[in-house]
């Protein structure tokens, strides 16, 4: 464990976040110049830049995609950190609780109904599906006016399985090309979206982050158990539902535009926890920044390694995040178990 002050000082918080922010800024700037199509900044900024493909490539297609990757990565990573905190489970991630599954089912139905992957119905349906799934899991897990972490986890996993079955039903009934579209969407892809879409996701990300930061220290207290947290002044029910809802909102916005990109919400918070310690007031904003950088690089890789064809970014995050997560898990197991 790294050497650190006996408590989280404002100075340490600001310094760590500033460092991560710089890392993110550099990543974004660098990633704009990575891609299968050659593009020169000089030509793009030149006098007749508007007519060159360079400007269109750098600022028209790559920049919005890189920024989308950043906000999606930030959202998924923060949602994962929040869920791990609220459920006290290192395997919690946005996709395991059924939120993304709900989005996938809704998007699949919308795709079959609209018949066009470019239909604006798809992201709207995905968003709505994610929120409906959240409501079902959140209220389903409620008993006697209380929602325990255990109940949410169980309900979420089962809901996931049911949603998977629904999705298979839709795929069985849909045409081959629709199925191909659904599958590809679910693998998680970042594409060039309009600036309006990027701004919308960024807004959700910012709102979600601030919402979560207000409950960050509640998460610290909840780590000691519901009763202890209640004794220290935490309204446990409210805090748990608020965090769950914020995590769901972040996930919904991301999945609606990018499908299910896995491992960002699992690996990044976990790694940060090992390096920065358990304090959620630091972990949540750190996950936001680090998750953004991670996805920016993963997408840079996804669109370059097979050039000119691209890999779904979900494949890259899984193949880089997965083995790394196994390694991290081994390390933390070795530490916990003597």
């Amino acid at each position: 464990m790294s050497v650190r002050a006996p408590y989280l000082t404002r100075g340490r918080l600001v310094a760590t976040l500033a460092l991560l922010a710089v890392l993110l800024a550099v990543s974004i700037a660098a990633a704009v110049f990575v891609g299968p199509a050659p593009a020169s900044l000089a030509r793009a900024l030149g006098p007749d830049g508007a007519s060159t493909p360079d400007r269109a490539i750098l600022f028209g297609t790559r920049l919005p995609r890189v920024l989308l990757g950043a906000v999606v990565g930030a959202s998924l990573s923060t949602a994962g950190a929040a869920l791990q905190g609220i459920l006290g489970n290192p395997l919690a991630c946005p996709h395991v609780l059924g939120i993304s599954a709900g989005a996938a089912v809704a998007a699949a139905i919308a795709l079959v109904a609209a018949g066009d992957t470019m239909s604006p119905l798809l992201p709207l349906a995905a968003f709505a599906g994610a929120l409906v799934a959240t409501a079902i899991v959140g209220f389903g897990a409620r008993a006697h006016g209380r929602t325990t972490a255990h109940a949410i986890l169980l309900f979420g996993v089962v809901f996931n399985a049911v949603a998977a079955a629904l999705l298979m039903l839709i795929e069985a009934l849909a045409s081959y090309r629709q199925v191909h579209g659904i599958l590809f969407w679910m693998m998680g892809t970042l594409s060039t979206q309009s600036w309006v879409v990027v701004a919308a996701v960024a807004l959700y990300a910012a709102v979600g982050l601030v919402w979560l930061l207000r409950h960050a220290h509640h998460l610290n207290l909840l780590a000691a158990g519901d009763e202890d947290a209640a004794r220290l002044g935490v309204d446990v029910e409210r805090a748990r539902l608020a965090v769950f809802a914020a995590a769901a909102l972040l996930t919904a916005a991301s999945v609606a535009v990018a499908g299910m990109i896995g491992f960002v919400g699992l690996v990044v918070p976990h790694l940060l926890r090992l390096v920065l310690g358990p304090d959620e007031r630091l972990l949540l904003p750190a996950s936001f920044l680090a998750g953004a950088a991670f996805l920016v690089w993963a997408d840079a890789l996804a669109r370059t390694v097979l050039g000119p064809a691209e890999l779904p970014v979900g494949v890259v995050t899984a193949l880089t995040g997965g083995p790394f997560f196994l390694y991290l898990l081994r390390r933390s197991l070795a530490r916990v178990l003597p």
Binding site: P53, I57, G60, A101, T117, M118, N160, S175, F184
Partner: protein, 293 residues
């Protein structure tokens, strides 16, 4: 995180196709008992070929997507191209079943063979597959001469299309088959061959796979003159996808055109029609010729 669980048996699929492929080339039509009278087609392209060979009356079952020619729409259904119904096929008591490999039908094919049904597998990936399919289906059905004639006819019409565009400047073409993610026609496909036949240059032919997903920046970089939208979806969706790429000639000159005719996507007897239509889209002002056949 894998979600949903992927179908197991990818290895089995490869082996099955290899076995089926190996077996295909050596199968002989039945010597005794006459040509098959009851035929089941598990692919739309096969159905069209059977009708083109004049043997449409022998079809006793077709897959759900078999919608051409119109008579085919009235035939009994035996499941889908992706997953046919083994029971429905067996209930039709076919003498021979024609199948094209699909993502889900290898188990059905194996099941039918185990049940003693004769299954002939043909392919639909490239133009050579079309000639092979016509020849073999004709041979199995006992009308080899008709097959020769059909093959020659199709080849002649394709040559005509090619001749009409020979000498014309070849536009750079991108053929889109999926909007989001953006999936295009790559090299080594029937559609790629048709593009070349229609006098165009496929900008994605070097992408390494048959149906690559492309980041939008590659479209900008490759700057196609024509974008052919063969994707499922609406024209508005396609245009919205490319609207902002004003440096791309196809967008700038308003040459994002729709080609939603499924003849373009099937290795069947309407391929020359599709080629002709494509040629006209790629070379505006090309005089329309009536189909002789």
């Amino acid at each position: 995180m894998t979600f949903p669980p992927r179908r197991p048996g990818a290895v089995v699929l490869v082996l099955a196709l290899a076995v089926a492929g190996a077996a295909c080339g050596d199968r002989l039509p039945p010597a005794a008992g006459g040509p098959p009278a009851r035929v089941v087609s598990l692919a739309p392209s096969v159905t069209e070929i059977v009708f083109a060979l004049g043997a449409g009356d022998r079809l006793v079952g077709v897959c759900g997507e078999c919608d051409h020619p119109p008579e085919a729409a009235r035939l009994p259904r035996v499941g889908g191209w992706v997953v046919p119904s083994v029971e429905a096929v067996l209930a039709a008591r076919p003498d021979v079943v024609f199948a094209v490999p699909s993502p889900g039908n290898h188990e059905a094919v194996l099941a039918l063979e185990r049940a003693g049904t004769r299954v002939e597998v043909v392919h639909d990936r490239v133009l050579a597959d079309l000639w092979d399919a016509v020849r073999r289906i004709a041979a199995v059905l006992g009308v080899p001469a008709r097959g020769e004639q059909l093959g020659a006819d199709l080849a002649r019409r394709l040559d005509e299309v090619h001749a009409r565009v020979a000498g014309l400047p070849a536009p750079r073409v991108l053929v889109v088959v999926g909007h989001d993610p953006l999936i295009v026609v790559g090299g080594g496909t029937l559609q790629d061959e048709l593009v070349r036949l229609a006098g165009g240059v496929n900008v994605a032919a070097d992408a390494g796979t048959a149906w690559p997903a492309l980041p939008l920046e590659v479209v900008v970089a490759r700057a196609p003159d024509v974008i052919v939208d063969a994707a499922m979806g609406t024209d508005a969706g396609g245009r919205r996808l490319f609207a902002r790429l004003t440096t791309v000639p196809a967008v700038r000159d308003g040459r994002v055109v729709a080609l939603r005719d499924d003849a373009f996507l099937r290795a069947g007897p309407r391929v020359p029609d599709a080629a002709a239509e494509l040629a006209e889209l790629l070379h505006p002002g090309l005089a329309r010729t009536r189909d002789a056949g």
